[in-house]
Amino acid sequence: MSKLIVSDVSISFGGLKALDSVSFDVKQGEIRGIIGPNGAGKTTMLNVISGINKPDSGTITFDGTLLSGLKPNKIAAKGIGRTFQTTKLFKGMTVLENVMTGAHSQLRATPLSAAFNFPSVAKEEEEAADRAYEVLEFMRMERFADHEATLLSFGQQRLVEIARVLVGQPEVLLLDEPAVGLSVTRVSEVEELLKRIRQERGITIVMIEHVIRLVMGVCDRITVLNSGQKIADGTAEEVINNPAVERAYLGSKVDVTD
């Protein structure tokens, strides 16, 4: 069953067509890779799904409900979480507080109930802390819970960012280059983590990634974008052997005998 359906999505910035009627659909429990050269429109695709950019035309449906047109916070509340290419952890918060912020949509406190610390607020705060701690344990990051988040190493910050999304119990997780800038051993850890996220939490993943080893290792299917257009879609095997993909990455073959 399709969890997320992107159909005919187009968006332009000024004269530049960032996405040109792109369609694909992601099945429940799938790990989908989005690859393509720089400027292909990959991040724009995630921005459109998460509501940061509104598509000029086309629709996005999630479990049968229309997402396109909703504000990002509504889309997040429906169960679509995302991370960013450059980590955006909140400065001035510990790791645990950052992760607790991800549980925002599940909490009910208002300024009034929070100010007077109603029993319901005290209770939900306790539960949110427990859940945040549980996710950090899942990520094997619990020993950093009380560290200032933005002082962690780059790789650790990326993990905290994933934890912050997971605590909101998303059904679909959009990851923008989770392995960028990580060492080889770290990439293996991310690979294992993504598999565990799917297996243990039943979350569908859509991820942009340049680290081909990771893409080949975890993705069930891969969508290839180039200059805003989808040029291929299929398993790792199919995509690698697709001549259009080769052209996009390496340029066309030049006959030097001429």
């Binding site: 916070n73 960013f84 507080e97 929070a114 909101g168």
Partner: protein, 321 residues
């Protein structure tokens, strides 16, 4: 020794000193302490908007004025008791705060700062020129508060009323910043995009910051009109905007207890320099520069560096892990 200087102890000592002050200090000292209490409200309120939510907005001096004018005029024209005029002033200022928030929500950074300072100036103009209601530039005298049947004179009554309000308002604010509200504010301050994709409604949470901040400013204004017994436009001019801003920066931006500290420090400085009004502004400028250049986190950051027990989590610390 250091553990003795933990926040809990310092705050307890502070409360005791404020509580027994009128029994031994002269009227002038009590008046200054009362000013400090009032400025604690202003500083804590502005810090939620400026420090926590990160909105570079300065509507509070004007809202402070709205609170003062509303409660003062209700007292003067209708002879209402303080337990009506005070909440009325606070409520009306909050309402105006919300009214400013609606257009201001669309603005950011420098434009937001300019628009809200323009609002402060416009409010000042209304205070000074709407003669039939505000009595114009000369202002008006507020009949003293009547605390009967309690056997206390008005200054002592206002002092203890202010103290009680601070003892309620600061813990309430402290509860707000340690909930999902405070975390949402810090999140949208640090990255609006990230905050939004975590489900935080930016418009709603910015509006909350304006409203809460306006409520604190309006309450302080209502107390101010009773404390001074006279309301004039110049009490709410740009200098007031700068004083509030200074308190937040010098005490510690984005720190509730820093706001409390900043108010006490600056009221002290203002009083020491009371006879030299020009020096006040120079001293303010100097202190602001010193803070920004040497201790950007304000006085509270210095304390946090050297003393345990002063950190401010954005959550409640329940069971120990």
């Amino acid at each position: 020794m250091q553990a003795l200087l933990a926040r809990r102890n310092i705050v307890a000592v502070g409360i005791i000193v404020f509580a027994i002050l009128p029994t031994f200090a002269n009227a002038y000292i009590v008046f200054v302490a009362n000013l400090a209490l009032m400025y604690i409200l202003l500083s804590v309120g502005l810090n939620m908007l400026l420090g926590y939510a990160g909105q570079l907005a300065f509507p509070n001096a004007a809202l402070f004025g709205v609170g003062a004018y509303t409660s003062g005029l209700l007292r003067l024209e209708f002879d209402l008791p303080y337990w009506i005029t005070l909440p009325a002033g606070a409520a009306f200022a909050t309402l105006i705060g919300l009214a400013i928030a609606l257009p201001a929500l669309r603005l950011r950074g420098l434009y937001l700062a300019l628009a809200t300072i323009a609002f402060a100036q416009a409010a000042l103009w209304v205070f000074g020129h709407w003669n039939s209601v505000t009595y114009g530039g000369a202002g008006f005298r507020v009949p003293p508060m009547d605390f009967s049947p309690l056997p206390i004179d008005p200054p002592t009554g206002i002092y203890y009323l202010s103290l009680i309000i601070v003892l309620v308002a600061v813990p309430l604010g402290w509860n707000i910043v340690r909930s999902r509200i405070g975390r949402a504010w810090v999140a949208l301050r640090e990255s609006e995009v990230a905050a939004e994709t975590l489900g935080i409604d930016l418009t709603r949470y910015k509006a909350y910051a304006y409203v809460v901040s306006g409520l604190y400013a309006g309450t302080a204004g209502a107390l101010f009109s009773a404390l001074l017994g006279i309301v004039t436009p110049e009490s709410f001019d740009l200098f007031q905007v700068i004083v509030h801003f200074c308190m937040v920066i010098v005490g510690g931006i984005g720190s509730l207890w820093g706001g409390v500290l900043g108010a006490v420090i600056l009221v002290g400085l203002l009083e020491v320099l009371r006879t030299f009004r020009d020096l006040q502004e120079i001293a303010f400028g100097g202190l602001l520069l010193f803070t920004v250049l040497v201790v950007p986190g304000g006085a509270i950051a210095m304390i946090k560096r050297y003393l345990p027990g002063w950190n401010e989590p954005l959550r409640r610390i329940g069971k120990k892990r």
